[in-house]
């Protein structure tokens, strides 16, 4: 098998991993960076990283390509039912040697195709054996090839903590995938994996992160100032499959909140389940629940950057995110007593809770209102999405003309705003085969009798986990 065939197979089987970010570390020739990586300056090394991350291309599904995302091998001894590489599946198998991976990474990197490497693997023989090979590969890249670019490595579930630590000292980011949103689902679908071992890998990584800088660095640093031992400087992330098992959104967001809180994760990736197989334990899905995935990402952002808690967004009477509108809008509609708010006086935390205002525009509002009172026209310039925000704000004590007060009416206005008419079901079939397009009435706003289709904005964005 030649290298191109191998690359095709092992990229193809790595593609379901959502993470492809190269962000979180800055490292450059001045030696001021905090990242992991062999130094250079001698001419044969290569590499820098940028905190904001760099997208090098976008794949046909609209996801950012930042890293050479491959599996070391897809030969697997596990039989996880949701996974395309499970041992009982009949697919072509391949294996990269450490040298092949290092050569590919260096040559792609030099030509500016990629920002670094994302190395994952199926479980070859056993978790420890697989991890040893991964450590060997990354060690070769860092030391023999003097590669200082970004490396993200996956921790193999059930591997020895010592190996997890070794890998952590060589990489910028690590992730241990939690795979499914509950213990029971995991036991059912991935019998060889278990929650305690995944969580203990996360704890090992987190422990390493907290104690970094305590020991001298095993990696030669470019600068003459030794920065001490570094450990996954870009933090850790995880991923779970959405829609293969029956957990509701409330369960998922509560889990996410716990994970952010206890392991200080940088990111959780939600991956809409794509049927790679049929199995009696899996829910019957024909089309990936992409819109649900999109809403979960939106809610995730609300947890991390907007000061919301999972309990505020979802509760017993409201266990799933409203698929028809973004979670912040939905929250605001259920708390109309808190609105409208005066743009020129309310604190930043309140600004963040207004639909149509994001972190960036909230910051701009805070800055520019120091220099004079803001009006609706100013807000538009600052990047506020007025068609949503207008219902929830006043400027200099005035409401914008033409806004509505009635809750039901408001809900239909916001739904209508998501552009209900011009969508064809074929381009966006999310399992609602029974839905037939018909005229939307302003006064039918309950989910049962409203024909709702995702708006243009959502349709475009929900297909990316990159956001």
């Amino acid at each position: 098998m030649n290298i191109q065939q191998k690359l095709s197979i092992l990229a193809d089987s790595a593609k379901y991993d959502a993470a492809c970010t190269s962000s979180g570390v800055t490292r450059n020739r001045n030696g001021s960076g905090t990242g992991n990586g062999a130094g250079s300056g001698t001419g044969n090394g290569a590499g820098s990283t940028l905190a904001s991350g760099i997208c090098h291309s976008f794949s046909s599904d609209g996801r950012c390509i930042s890293l050479l995302k491959i599996l070391m091998t897809n030969i697997c001894c596990f039989d996880c039912k949701y996974c395309v590489n499970r041992s009982s599946n009949d697919v072509e198998r391949a294996f990269f040697t450490p040298m092949e991976i290092a050569e590919l990474t260096m040559n792609f990197y030099r030509r500016n195709y990629i920002e670094g490497l994302f190395l994952s693997s199926a479980v070859l023989k056993n978790p420890d054996y697989t991890m040893e090979l991964m450590v060997e590969t990354i060690r070769m890249l860092r030391f023999d090839y003097r590669f200082a670019g970004y490396i993200h490595a996956k921790s193999i579930p059930g591997a020895d903590p010592g190996l997890v630590r070794q890998l952590g000292e060589l990489t910028d980011r690590m992730s241990a995938n939690i795979e499914l949103p509950s213990k029971e689902s995991l036991a059912k679908l991935a019998p060889q994996k278990n929650y305690p071992s995944i969580l203990s890998s996360m704890a090992v990584i987190q422990n390493g992160i907290q104690n970094r800088g305590q020991l001298p660095s095993p990696v030669p640093v470019r600068s003459n100032v030794s920065s001490g031992r570094s450990f996954v400087p870009a933090g850790q992330s995880t991923q779970m499959v959405i829609g293969a098992t029956p957990e509701n959104d409330r369960h998922i967001m509560t889990l996410a909140e716990d994970l952010y809180r206890s392991f200080h994760l940088k990111r959780i990736f939600y991956s809409a389940y794509i049927p790679v197989t049929s199995h009696p334990d899996l829910l019957p899905v024909t089309v990936p629940p992409l819109l649900r995935e999109h809403r979960l990402y939106q809610a995730d952002w609300l947890l991390r950057f907007y000061g919301f808690t999972a309990r505020e967004l979802l509760d017993d009477s409201h266990p799933d995110l409203d698929i028809r509108m973004d979670p912040k809008c939905d929250w605001a509609l259920r708390h109309l007593d808190r609105f409208p708010v005066e743009i020129n006086t309310v604190p930043y935390e309140v600004l963040l809770r207004i639909p149509g205002i994001g972190v960036r525009s909230a910051q701009k509002i805070v800055r520019s209102r120091r220099e004079g009172l803001l009006d609706f026209e100013h807000l538009r310039k600052l990047g506020v999405v007025m068609k949503r925000a207008v219902f929830f704000i006043t400027c200099k004590g005035r409401k914008s003309p033409g806004t509505v007060e009635n809750a039901e009416l408001l809900r239909s206005c916001l739904l209508k705003e998501s552009d209900t008419r011009l969508v064809s079901l074929s381009t966006f079939g999310h399992s609602q085969g029974e839905m037939k397009p018909r005229q939307l009435s302003m006064f039918e706003s309950s989910p049962e009798n409203t024909i709702w289709l995702p708006g243009r904005e959502d349709r475009q964005k929900c297909l990316t986990g990159e956001m």
């Binding site: 191109q4 690359l7 095709s8 990229a11 193809d12 790595a14 593609k15 379901y16 450059n28 020739r29 250079s40 001698t42 001419g43 044969n44 290569a46 590499g47 820098s48 940028l50 904001s52 760099i54 997208c55 090098h56 291309s57 976008f58 794949s59 046909s60 599904d61 609209g62 996801r63 950012c64 390509i65 930042s66 050479l68 995302k69 491959i70 590919l104 040559n107 792609f108 030099r110 030509r111 500016n112 195709y113 920002e115 670019g149 809409a272 794509i274 089309v287 990936p288 992409l290 800055r367 520019s368 120091r370 220099e371 803001l374 100013h378 310039k381 475009q460 964005k461 297909l463 990316t464």
Partner: protein, 268 residues
């Protein structure tokens, strides 16, 4: 020293342009040249009607042209003064907006600087003012294109001394912004980035760089195994997309078609 908080930017204490003036400044089209003009206008307190690049200027009946030669020393001193006065961020935005090359950008910049000189560092917060907002937008547009190019540039290795060679066609003149990044990324590696639209290139030996306006002659000859790496990259690109999630529209909005010509994975 006047109390800056009380300065009203609506009545700038400093005028760079004056609509009643009978002359215009012509400069050489460089940032240095523009700063020299602005500094001169402030120094002699005789503001011109406008500042225009000499090569695009059309004579008109009402304004007499005055050629201003760029002075590195004047421009240097003036930019240091601007930095103290209105802060580094505002100065960087001035430069970014300038390299957008938008027609009439000189007038926009002069209005921005007038406000900045009066208001000082507060200019960064004055986003609701038209002259500030305009420059912020231009600077953001340049920043975005620059950032996209950090990823979208595709080097090919040439037979000649393993030189890396890339072609781009950006809307803004971002070449000078790109250089430091690639020197950091590939220390010691010589490379060339050629801007097809402006017929300018930057050359680097991996440590230093300079801008070159000589049009390279001859077609660059690729190294023997270059095609192999390109094919491998294409194979990776083909396989990394998930068919069930296909979304060409989103892909194109993030990676506009005008950039595809120079990206090998999109040449199927």
């Amino acid at each position: 020293m006047p109390d800056r908080r009380n300065v009203n930017p609506d009545i700038p204490a400093f005028r760079i342009l004056d609509e009643n003036s009978s002359f215009i400044y012509l400069y050489d089209g460089s940032f240095e040249g523009l700063l020299t003009c602005a500094a001169r206008s402030l120094k002699f307190k005789s503001p011109p009607w406008d500042i225009l690049p000499g090569n695009t200027w059309q004579p008109d009946f009402f304004h007499s042209p005055v050629q201003v030669a760029p002075s590195a020393e004047t421009a240097g001193r003036f930019s240091a003064w601007l930095q103290r006065r209105m802060g580094m961020d505002a100065l960087v935005k001035t430069y970014y907006a300038f390299i957008s090359g938008r027609p009439g950008v000189e007038r926009m910049l002069c209005e921005y600087l007038e406000t900045g000189i009066s208001a000082g560092r507060r200019i960064d917060d004055m986003l609701s003012r038209e002259e500030v907002h305009r420059i912020e937008m231009l600077a953001m547009n340049v920043t975005r294109e620059y950032h996209k190019h950090l990823g979208f540039i595709r080097f090919a290795m040439l037979k000649n001394r393993d030189l890396l060679y890339a072609r781009i066609k950006p809307a803004n003149h971002i070449l000078p912004l790109l250089a430091p990044h690639f020197i950091d990324r590939l220390p010691g590696q010589p490379w060339i980035i050629y801007d097809e639209g402006r017929m300018l290139s930057i050359l680097s030996d991996g440590y230093r760089w300079f801008l070159n306006d000589q049009i390279p002659d001859g077609i660059p000859i690729l190294k023997d195994d270059e095609k192999t790496w390109q094919e491998l990259w294409k194979a990776f690109y083909r396989n990394i997309g998930i068919a069930e999630r296909e979304n060409q529209k989103l892909m194109q909005s993030l990676m506009p078609k005008r950039y595809w010509k120079n990206m090998i994975e999109l040449q199927m």
